[in-house]
């Protein structure tokens, strides 16, 4: 018995010690990720990153201080992951002769939604260097409206004439509420509906993207086709994976902002969406209770359980479609095709803003203009990354050049030809407000609950939505809903 106890104590202590090392391994691994992922990171930034992951206050402080001393003349870029910055830096250094050593990538390794919190904590220390900050449309105004965080692009030498080639809506989102241009996006986040070519052939007898587009060209047809797919597949194939994708389309189609004159309002498109969402959920046109960004969401693309995904320009790679197809060589890799879908839409996108504390304006300008206003280099980036860029001239160049033939997951189709049609139709009539991320989430929460049967009808759904928002944003006026 004594020996047994000793042995067990030994085993458990080894297990515990092992778990400690496992944790260490995990963190060094992630540290390794950040370092390899950020070619710019030298020893000091690596140390800073390590301090960050291990959350040892003293160490972080020391490392941050050390990092700053060395990073004062580096261009510090704040971002939430390195999906964009890595390929950007690679191309930038290749084409301009700058070296990665001149950059200090501060990636927080989190989702876009959590980035703001990390930025705030980072910016709270006035000693922390920041030159360029990446922001997402949903919360861009939080920083763009804050003169202590970001400064006008004209300060570092941009003029309005520079933006002539950019898609209008990408310029609009980069403006503060008072109309100062503070951010530019290198992406025109036009999206389309990606569908499984083999399933379309099997269930609908459709061979080409054009034929498929004819079947989904508006929402009525989309629903009708969804019904056919459901029936032909014996109920196993849903038209699209989640409602979240459908929502992006409706969200982009809004013609009124969420808040006007400090009053919350609900666009007609949103009301239409509530009805459509319920119908799709009840009829099984989406996979029941599947959550977006969940592992299962990606896994669905490798089964026959879904016909398609709504995908934005940044989503053709690993962010959505390639991963859903199982990666290169995956089960459905190359079996996808993209069409415009029921309505042209944009979804997300990242804007580059210049921090107020930027101490490196020349390089910051060179970097931002490289991917945006400079058509030639933006075209090079578009071709290398396979991303639909915000510069119209660059996109014309890519299509005319013909050297870019589309991402592998589409099996030979060039997504730019479709996205080009979409991008031309995007307008920002809906506008953005500083409250968008909160309100959109509140709306989607209410609709999800309605679909799952927790609210009786549309009115109580809207009521719940308004309550959701009112609890989070007490300073808005809710008189529109009384």
């Amino acid at each position: 018995m004594k020996n047994l106890k000793k042995t067990l104590a030994m085993i458990s202590s080894v297990v515990m010690a092992g778990s400690v090392f496992a944790a260490c391994g995990g963190s060094t691994e992630s540290t390794g990720d950040t370092t390899t992922a950020a070619p710019a990171a030298d020893a000091t930034t690596a140390a800073a990153a390590e301090g960050e992951t291990e959350a040892a206050p003293a160490e972080t402080e020391a490392a941050a201080e050390g990092g700053d001393a060395a990073a004062t003349d580096k261009l510090t870029v704040l971002c939430w992951n390195t999906d964009d910055i890595d390929p950007m830096l690679k191309l930038f250094c290749e084409k301009t002769g700058h070296t990665a050593d001149e950059f200090n990538v501060k990636s927080f390794g989190c989702g876009g939604g959590e980035a703001a919190e990390n930025y705030d904590a980072y910016l709270a220390d006035a000693n922390n260097d920041a030159d360029i900050m990446f922001v997402e449309a949903d919360w861009a105004l939080k920083y763009i409206n804050d003169d202590n965080a970001t400064q006008a692009l004209s300060n570092i030498g941009f003029s309005d004439a520079d933006y002539a080639d950019l898609y209008g809506y990408t310029i609009e989102i980069g403006k503060s509420t008072s109309g100062v241009q503070k951010g530019l996006s290198w992406q025109a986040a036009a999206g389309g509906f990606c569908y499984r070519e083999d399933l379309a052939d099997k269930y609908l007898g459709v061979k080409t993207p054009d034929e498929f587009q004819a079947l989904v060209s508006d929402w009525d047809k989309f629903m009708e086709t969804a019904g056919k797919v459901k029936e032909a597949s014996g109920g196993t194939t849903a038209m699209t994976s989640t409602l979240a994708g459908v929502w992006q389309v409706f969200s982009a189609a809004r013609t009124n902002p969420w808040v006007a004159d400090n009053k919350l309002q609900l666009d007609d498109e949103c009301k239409k969406y509530i009805d459509l969402a319920k119908t799709m959920y009840d009829n099984g046109y989406v996979i029941k209770d599947l959550a977006q960004w969940n592992n299962d969401w990606y896994a669905a693309g490798q089964t026959d359980s879904t016909m398609g995904y709504f995908v934005s320009t940044w989503g053709f790679g690993d962010a959505i479609l390639s991963q859903a197809a199982g990666g290169e060589g995956g089960t459905t890799y190359g079996k996808w095709k993209v069409v415009v879908g029921p309505q042209p839409f944009y979804w997300g996108g990242t804007w580059a803003t210049v921090a107020t504390r930027c101490n490196n304006p020349e390089l910051a300008k060179e970097f931002i203009s490289f991917f945006t206003t400079n058509a030639e280099t933006a075209q090079a980036y578009s071709e290398s990354k396979g991303e639909y860029v915000s510069n119209q001239k660059a996109m014309e160049g890519v299509l005319a050049n013909g050297s870019y033939t589309g991402v592998g997951v589409l099996g030979g189709q060039n997504q730019f030809e479709t996205l080009n049609v979409v991008a031309a139709d995007i307008n920002m009539a809906g506008g953005i407000t500083p409250y968008d991320s909160v309100i959109k989430q509140a709306f989607n929460d209410a609709v999800t609950q309605y679909c799952q049967g927790n609210y009786a009808d549309v009115d109580s759904t809207i009521d719940a939505f308004v309550d959701n928002v009112a609890a989070s944003l007490p300073d808005l006026d809710y008189s529109n809903f009384e």
């Binding site: 927790n454 309550d467 609890a471």
Partner: protein
């Protein structure tokens, strides 16, 4: 004169080192516990706005408490006087606050009751002198294991197993067998029950070990005597073990209650998507979500924290008061004696 002064000096020099040694604790405690506590009280009277990006605080007195507890917000009447009446915003936050309080209580009861029953049963078996369970040490470790795993991993594991859609591990089996998928993660009852199970599974080992030490602290001669006198195992359990275990049970209950009211990790992480499941959102999650928002409401977070603090302090002191009474009048021991007398008389 001489003697007293030298004595004084000596005593002071010793005390000085004593205080120096305990100083680090008080410094750390003041910085990480006392300051945040008082800051929470301060923040509960503030309203945070973020119009310009950075957070600006504004003193609003007890408005936050009015909003979360009574659903009353500040507005002006026709004459321009400040009045408090029910507003949409305050009503919504009040509804939310009571919803999350309800969730917290449901989830706590749902894991405390099965947990205490299972733990008591196991503790009684493992300490029974006549049952002689083999491999006690092994079982103790195995039962304690779930508590060692970080809550984040446990939640991730369960989310993976119980994902809602037909592609989840358990649901794919149900789906392939021809059944309707069950929303284990987002459904109202399903998600609550799952969280209760997780919490019970994580904490029953801890409670078992605590109760075992309590039972082992009972004088074995009582059991022996009862046994010789012919008491059945049930009688022994209900008339000796349980009464003498009360102090430990109360301690377990207090710690579990405080832990339960602050339940955060599993309900927060047993969730998919970007928004919180409204049926498992606890008060701690509510506080966190209002604090860490793109548009934070420090006031709501802090005032809810204060309410939670008051409730915890109140319930805690009730438990301790009950506990102290038991210590002063050892009814339990008298109960055991009464049993002994009764059995002895037979």
């Amino acid at each position: 004169m001489d003697i007293s002064s030298s004595r004084k000096i000596r005593s002071i020099s010793y005390a000085k080192y004593g205080y120096l040694f305990i100083l680090p604790f008080f410094v750390v405690y003041a910085f990480f516990q006392v300051y945040p506590l008082f800051n929470t009280f301060y923040l509960s009277t503030q309203k945070s706005t973020t119009e310009t990006g950075s957070v600006v605080l504004e003193n609003v007195g007890l408005d936050n408490f009015r909003a979360i507890l009574f659903g009353e917000g500040k507005s002006t009447d026709d004459a321009g006087n400040v009045i408090y009446k029910e507003t949409r915003q305050a009503g919504a936050i009040k509804k939310d606050f009571f919803r999350v309080m309800g969730n917290t209580l449901i989830l706590w009861f749902g894991n405390f009751i099965p947990q205490i029953i299972i733990s008591l049963l196991l503790a009684a078996w493992f300490t029974d002198a006549y049952l002689k369970v083999k491999g006690k040490g092994f079982f103790k470790i195995v039962m304690y294991m779930p508590n060692i795993i970080t809550a984040a991993s446990v939640a991730a594991l369960f989310v993976m197993l119980f994902s809602d859609s037909q592609l989840g591990a358990i649901n794919s089996m149900i789906h392939n067998a021809g059944g309707e998928t069950v929303p284990f993660v987002s459904g109202k009852d399903q998600s609550r029950v799952l969280i209760m199970i997780i919490q019970t599974w994580m904490w029953f080992g801890n409670t078992t070990i605590m109760l075992m030490s309590g039972i082992m602290g009972i004088n074995p001669s009582l059991f022996e005597a009862a046994n010789i006198d012919g008491a059945s195992p049930n009688q022994q359990f209900f008339l000796i073990t349980i009464p003498l275990l009360k102090p430990i049970m109360l301690y377990t209950m207090v710690t579990s209650m405080i832990g339960g009211l602050q339940m955060f990790d599993i309900p927060y992480l047993y969730n998919v998507g970007t928004s919180q499941n409204p049926f498992t959102e606890t008060i701690a999650v509510f506080i966190y979500n209002h604090f860490h928002n793109i548009k934070p409401n420090y006031g709501y977070s802090a005032s809810s924290s204060v309410v939670l603090f008051v409730i915890t302090a109140l319930l805690g002191s009730i438990c301790f008061a009950v506990n102290r009474d038991k210590d002063n009048t050892p009814k339990a021991k008298r109960g055991a004696k009464a049993l002994k007398n009764k059995l002895g008389g037979l």
